[in-house]
Symmetry: C2
DNA sequence: TCCTACATTGGACTTTGTCTAAGTCAAGAA
DNA sequence: TTCTTGACTTAGACAAAGTCCAATGTAGGA
């Protein structure tokens, strides 16, 4: 994650305490927090940090390609720090747990030309849904 | 669509003017309205209809499996009346236009067992993103 | 026709996110 | 080190999308 801060400084990012704690909160591989969760965790490290700054910082990190926005439930967006490796998501329909997964095959190639309606198709997002082991057991 | 109303009555749905106009608005194949758009169009046919009723009715139609919720942009959910035929969505990243598409292959099968983490995977949602012909031309 | 359980209504409320004006501060210049 | 300046942060107002509730209305069976 210090890599991240270095990279961002290299791109002219002014390095503030607020941005540092947001980056720190997002450190870790299998984390998909909402903006509010990021704010709560950041506030634990830096109590005065404001919601607006968290939203701003998340937005910048998305623009810079350092994190990804994921909306799996039509409610709050979640932020996925694992942006440098292509992956898709597996979501528990009951508790909402999210896991990063790697389907086989070329998902983009599965949309035949006659189903593209002249679009220049650039990306594909896949969400698998089902019951996680915990919820299936309960 | 009168089929729909018959089916719902068969399931004990009380048939009110409000529900009738919501169903009427959703009639048509390639329509993906937001709740607000449904409300606006329903109000054109039945001016006193309230937002709460539109939300209630859409929610019931989703539960009954007659329409599908689609959230392609992290903002308002959209409602897809084409719920009886499996399909996925192709979305223009610029103007937001949505088309129903039919990828080849078995998308569910592309998630290998070792990538399922014990989940009972039941469904897969795919969103293709790109520029529609109009936006690509502009 | 009457009854009643189910449906509708409007408005308050919640959640998620955006915007703005005023104040603060990181980092380069001197 | 201190100064300067434009980028950054803040609190709170605002907006969009959706939920909830108590009061009222009504579809459809008896």
């Amino acid at each position: 994650m210090s890599d991240l801060l270095e990279r961002l400084r290299g791109r002219g990012w002014r390095l503030t305490a607020q941005r540092r704690v947001v980056a720190e909160v997002l450190d870790g591989d299998h984390v998909h927090y909402t903006a509010d969760e990021v704010h709560a965790r950041a506030a634990h490290l830096l109590p005065e940090i404001s919601r607006a700054t968290v939203y701003n910082t998340l937005g910048e990190l998305v623009s810079l390609g350092e994190i990804m926005e994921v909306s799996t439930d039509g409610r709050a967006k979640r932020y996925d720090p694992n942006a440098h490796h292509a992956h898709q998501h597996l979501v528990c329909s009951q508790c909402g747990t999210i896991r990063d997964v790697h389907p086989s095959g070329d998902l983009l190639a599965e949309l035949p030309p006659e189903e593209r309606f002249g679009f220049q198709v650039a990306a594909v997002e896949v969400t698998y849904r089902g019951l996680c082991p915990n919820c299936a057991a309960g």
